[in-house]
């Protein structure tokens, strides 16, 4: 509970309509898309200007109150759950694209702009902003920047950090900091812009950003290949890259996922297939044709028993349906869907999936894996029931072992979802004691009283790394 005078100050800043503290409103901001995490905030404010945010931060700073920034609340690592209470600052009213600069090929947008809407706006002008996280129809760009969101086009086009060149943020004490701008080249001092991308709301509150844009590719082609064995699909992925083809999208589904998808969508997938690859190339038509034909040929050589090439937009949609319905199909299977994003260097893809299946069997949990084969970013997805505590214990054990296996293969605990609170206990496994120490030093420089998204990124205690086998 906030002191009444603090609440009065907040209401004076944003207006009574935009400062929420009813039981129902607090409950509605007590969660995000991460299963198993929930905690009530003490208040929610929905500001509309950077000046309001600054004033809110000053109040919080003076009273030493936690601040939890929030966009669409589609986070998958509990990054926007107010687990220490405090004030949730919802930025969805920051919803304007301020400028699309066609000469400089940049766009400046506020944090609350919905990603898919931004895509539509820039694409209407023949421009292209590639990051396309799975949640883009609801996620906000501010959230994407704070988490360094990825998506299906990461292999060819990179992720959010490869596009953000300017950021405006409000610091813990309320100062407004402008970093970067529209320059392609800018080496003036430490790169604070890149530091803020992926900082998960622990360094400051991002209110707007500038992204560089690309020309929109003229056309795209899509193909699908089904394999008997996962290893065949993985070899095909390696050979496609070795043949110096960089596809726009190279997605895969493993057998458990194929079964669940077919069971749900009835789109004619062979449920005995060991793996499915979905390939897309974009660019000039001749190059799309050439690359997609070569990728299909490689898949055939590596033992694909069926390949399909989309000729029309409708056929393309039909092929993409297999990948698109993966999450829907999985989510319907069990009450709780835990989606992780362990990532390995791409050549270890098959080995990693096999280890995941092995670990799932060992802990007798149901894990389906799909993801971005081209960049080694896997989404092992566990279907369980959060009411069954014994099962949840096994799920946690399995994921711990999956993270361990990932790191042994030179991978990382999270490719695009962020550390948040859910993976804070594993961060040291990935970056080491020295890494943590330095990161904490950075955190202290920005946020000496640890008011910004407390409990996220840095665990109160690191998980003891179990020695496996």
């Amino acid at each position: 509970m906030l002191k009444p005078e603090v609440l009065r100050e907040l209401k004076a800043i944003v207006g009574a309509n935009w400062c929420l503290d009813s039981k129902a409103d607090l409950m509605a901001y007590s969660f995000d898309a991460t299963p198993l995490y929930q905690h009530l905030p003490d208040a929610v404010v929905v500001p509309a200007s950077v000046e309001e945010v600054s004033a809110i931060m000053k109040v919080a700073y003076a009273n030493r109150l936690p601040i939890v920034p929030r966009g669409a609340g589609s986070n998958l690592s509990a990054g926007t759950v107010p687990t220490s209470g405090g004030i949730v600052v919802a930025l969805n009213r920051f919803d304007q694209v301020r400028e699309i600069d066609q000469e400089n090929m940049t766009a400046t947008f506020e944090s609350g702009v919905v990603t898919a809407r931004f895509h539509q706006q820039v694409e209407a002008l023949g421009l292209f902003y590639p990051p396309d996280p799975g949640s883009m129809t609801t996620s906000t760009l501010g959230g994407n920047v704070a988490e360094c969101a990825g998506g299906l086009r990461g292999l060819k086009y990179g992720v959010t950090k490869d596009y953000i060149i300017g950021i405006e943020a409000v610091l813990a004490d309320g100062r407004i900091l402008k970093m970067g701008g529209k320059n392609t080249k800018d080496v003036a001092g430490y790169d604070l812009v890149k530091l803020f991308v992926g900082s998960e709301g622990t360094l400051g509150l991002i209110t707007s950003a500038t992204a560089k844009l690309l020309p929109l590719p003229e056309t795209k082609r899509t193909a699908l290949a089904m394999f008997n064995h996962l290893t065949g699909a993985a070899r095909a992925v390696s050979r496609i890259i070795a043949a110096k083809i960089i596809p726009a999208t190279l997605e895969f589904l493993d057998n458990p996922t194929i079964r669940v998808v077919e069971d749900y969508a009835h789109i004619g997938l062979d449920t005995e297939a060991g793996a499915l690859l979905l390939m897309q190339q974009d660019g000039p038509e001749a190059i799309c044709e050439r690359d997609i034909a070569r990728m299909v040929a490689i898949c055939r050589e590596e033992g694909a028993f069926e390949t399909k090439l989309a000729g029309t937009a409708a056929e393309e949609a039909a092929l993409m349906a297999a990948r698109r319905s993966a999450l829907s199909a999985l989510a319907r299977k069990k009450p709780t869907t835990i989606l992780e994003d362990a990532t390995v260097p791409r050549k270890h893809l098959a080995e990693m999936v096999e280890q995941i299946n092995h670990i799932a069997a060992k802990y007798s949990v149901q894990i389906c894996t799909f993801g971005h084969a081209g960049d080694g970013n896997l989404h092992p997805t566990c279907l369980c029931d959060e009411r069954d505590h014994e099962e949840i214990n096994r799920v946690e054990g399995a994921f711990e072992e999956i993270f361990d296996a990932t790191l042994k293969l030179g991978g990382t605990i999270t490719g695009e979802h962020g550390v948040g609170e859910a993976k804070a206990g594993f961060l040291e496994w990935r970056v080491g004691a020295t890494g943590i120490e330095l990161m904490k030093g950075i955190k202290d420089a920005f946020d000496p009283h640890h008011l910004l998204n407390p409990g996220k990124m840095f665990a109160r205690e690191t998980r003891r790394r179990v020695v496996i086998r």
Binding site: M27, F31, V44, G73, S74, T138
Partner: protein, 427 residues
């Protein structure tokens, strides 16, 4: 919190189907305008879950439940297949245990809309009200607004002239309309309550179109209201009563289909199977009933109409939320309208978003309803349509009101798709 009692209506398994991804947020009209999580489907589900888990009292979340249109656009956006409409009805049934609907509302739901005789009487009452000078008097004194608020007054202004008792009686005596030419199907016609009371002629037009398409149409006696209005208001038992009455009435005939002209009613009829799934005596019968139900355009789109006569002007179409999101009937009405010669069809931007009628919402939540409606009318203006076609009676009233609010009554007519198709039938 010790005083919170265990809930009886909220289904934990159903609540848990929401994985909180937030994909529903951009689809929700009230979230768009209110911009806070508790005005979103995900927020409301979380609140109901908190009630079910005894962290909140149902009364803590009454404003949030009242503010929901129940348009179910969130269901179309949901990757996990959450049946939000069912959850909302459970939440409102739970609410009604602690905050009963006013006695006058319950009385009207029970006796006027809740019985076949009550529906007939209401139709006659409407005619009398309009023709006796009562309407003129009430409007002069602003009585409707004083009694039921601006929302009800707007709706009252939009109601077209009612059919006379004599005309109703003649239609009832006729009962069966034979197919024109060869009989291809035998269908039962479901009148609906509001449709029958205020849109008698639309139902007659729908019957004429069905007959022209080769259907023998039987206006089955003993039928009543679909129960949607009861379910949406949390009157679960009354809703069950309506469902059972209709199941019994339509079991008496060997119909290929049961057809209706109201997107909202149709969605409710098709959900009897779900509504009664836990009642062994009724589950199977309810399922069989629901499987035979078809919306008017859903069925007509599968049949062959005689060559249509041209209609002048520009036509656009506003989806009925429950036809689109509940019944997934999206392409059929558009296809039918585009098949009319002469008329130019223009797609209405955001046709898939609620107009603000939402059953009784336009009356109970008039301010939000008007905000949504005015937003919609900007798009209608942009189409330069001369006819806005609808597929659900409350939408028809709401869009008529919207046209008036926008000052477009000289240029734009609001008509049900059955009325438009009937006009295009060969003479």
């Amino acid at each position: 919190v010790s005083e919170i009692k265990p809930t009886t209506h909220l289904d934990e398994d159903l609540l848990l189907t929401c994985m909180r991804c937030g994909f529903c947020l951009p689809a929700c009209p009230t979230y768009r305008h209110r911009q806070v999580e508790s005005a979103s489907p995900r927020g409301r589900i979380a609140l109901m879950r908190a009630v079910q888990e005894e962290q909140l009292d149902i009364l803590d979340i009454q404003d949030q439940l009242d503010a929901c249109l129940g348009c179910r656009a969130c269901e179309s956006a949901c990757p996990a297949g959450v049946t939000y409409g069912a959850l909302l009805e459970q939440g409102r049934a739970e609410l009604a245990t602690k905050r009963p609907n006013p006695w006058a509302v319950r009385f009207a739901y029970k006796w006027f809309l809740g019985t076949p005789a009550g529906i007939r009487l209401s139709g006659q009452g409407l005619w009398f009200y309009q023709r006796s000078g009562l309407r003129a008097l009430a409007r002069k004194l602003g009585l409707v607004a004083k009694l039921g608020g601006q929302g009800l007054a707007g709706m009252e202004r939009a109601i077209p002239d009612a059919a006379s008792p004599a005309r109703r009686a003649a239609a009832r005596r006729r009962r069966v309309t034979p197919a024109v030419g060869e009989r291809k199907l035998k269908v039962a016609f479901f009148l609906g309550c509001l449709s029958d009371i205020a849109f008698f002629e639309t139902n007659q037009n729908a019957i004429a179109v069905l007959a022209a398409a080769g259907c023998e149409v039987d206006v089955t006696p003993g039928q009543g209201c679909c129960g949607a209005v009861h379910g949406h208001a949390g009157e679960h038992d009354m809703a069950l009563e309506q469902a059972k009455r209709n199941i019994v009435a339509f079991e008496r005939g060997d119909y290929d289909y049961i057809v209706n002209t109201a997107g909202g009613c149709g969605a409710a009829l098709k959900e009897y199977g779900r509504l009664l799934k836990d009642d062994p005596a009724w589950a199977q019968r309810a399922q069989a009933f629901s499987l035979r139900c078809r919306d008017f355009s859903e069925l007509v789109a599968t049949l062959e109409l005689p060559p249509l006569r041209p209609i002048a002007g520009t036509i656009t179409y506003q989806d009925s939320c429950h036809l689109r999101n509940g019944q997934k009937v999206i392409a059929q009405p558009r296809k039918l309208l585009q098949s009319i010669p002469g008329a130019r069809y223009v797609e209405l931007p955001e046709a898939d978003r609620c107009c603000g009628a939402a059953g009784t919402y336009a009356v109970s939540q008039a301010a939000m309803s008007d905000t949504i409606l005015d937003h919609k009318m900007n798009y209608v203006k942009g189409t330069q349509a001369t006819t806005v076609v609808v597929a659900n009676p409350p939408c028809q009233l709401e869009m008529i009101e919207g046209v008036e609010r926008a000052g477009l009554q000289e240029q734009v007519k609001v008509r049900h798709i059955a009325d438009v198709l009937a006009e295009a039938l060969p003479k």
